[in-house]
């Protein structure tokens, strides 16, 4: 087990534990959000191991550093209290959940033991900002423009939705 493999499994375990922490943290929405931050930072670590350096930096700067702060901001603004898991018909729900977990487990075993081709050796500078930037602005420039239009629409929409009524 090389050091990189140990790192990957450590980050994977951390991501899973904090994702479950987000799921099961019923009493405190802020604690759930912080668990999500831990998940995202450990995923950024895995991205670095997968040679996607710029994407890892953007994951931390945008996802962990701005989006979850936005969640925390709304939680604090609305001063939310405790939550509960959905009640409802206990035994049918629990049986269905158990069956789903078993089926998902079988699929998971099949996925993990699949024989995928060996990862190719990446060229130098793969995933760095230089080559990815060139690719973004030459081959995928239309996507970048559409993304900027989408963000403009989102900004306008969010401002209008959160405004108080103009009366």
């Amino acid at each position: 087990m090389t050091a990189l493999q140990v790192l990957f499994y450590a980050f994977a375990a951390l991501a899973l534990v904090s994702a479950l922490g987000m799921l099961f943290n019923v009493r405190n929405a802020v604690a759930a959000a912080m668990s999500l931050v831990v998940t995202m930072v450990s995923l950024a670590g895995i991205y670095v191991l997968l040679e996607a350096h710029l994407v890892a930096a953007i994951q931390i700067i945008v996802y962990a550093g701005a989006i979850v702060v936005l969640f925390l901001f709304v939680v604090m603004l609305l001063n939310l209290r405790a939550d509960e898991f959905a009640p409802g018909r206990q035994w049918p729900t629990k049986t269905a959940a158990l069956l789903l977990v078993v089926a998902a487990g079988a699929h998971l075993v099949r996925i993990v033991s699949a024989e995928l081709p060996e990862p190719a050796v990446p060229p130098a500078g793969f995933g760095g900002y230089a080559l990815l930037g060139i690719a973004l602005y030459t081959d995928y420039v239309l996507l970048v423009e559409m993304a900027s239009l989408l963000l403009l629409a989102a900004i306008v929409g969010a401002v209008i939705l959160a405004k108080r009524k103009l009366d």
């Binding site: 987000m22 710029l54 990446p122 993304a147 929409g157």
Partner: protein, 106 residues
Amino acid sequence: MVPISHVIGLSALLFMIGVAGVATRRNLIVVLMSIELMLNAVNLAFLGFNRMWADVDAVHRYDGQVFVLMVITVAAAEVAVGLGIVISMFRNRDSVNLEDVSLLKW
């Protein structure tokens, strides 16, 4: 380097946890966070496969990473608008519980 199937397995597990969050939690903000977790799982799958095919021709070499950047952009836009909706909902009903906005349910 780990086998890419392990990366995809991790992505599948995270996706399932996200789906469980969307299906069972009643707090709208936690549902939105579970959706973010699902998007992250999908990003991980994209990057895993991008790493696997890293020596394909130069035009398509960064398909996975560019798609992940677009997913992050869409997630940011969706969170902004979604939280705006949450704030409006809270102003109208004084609660972010999903069961309080079930007027259209039969």
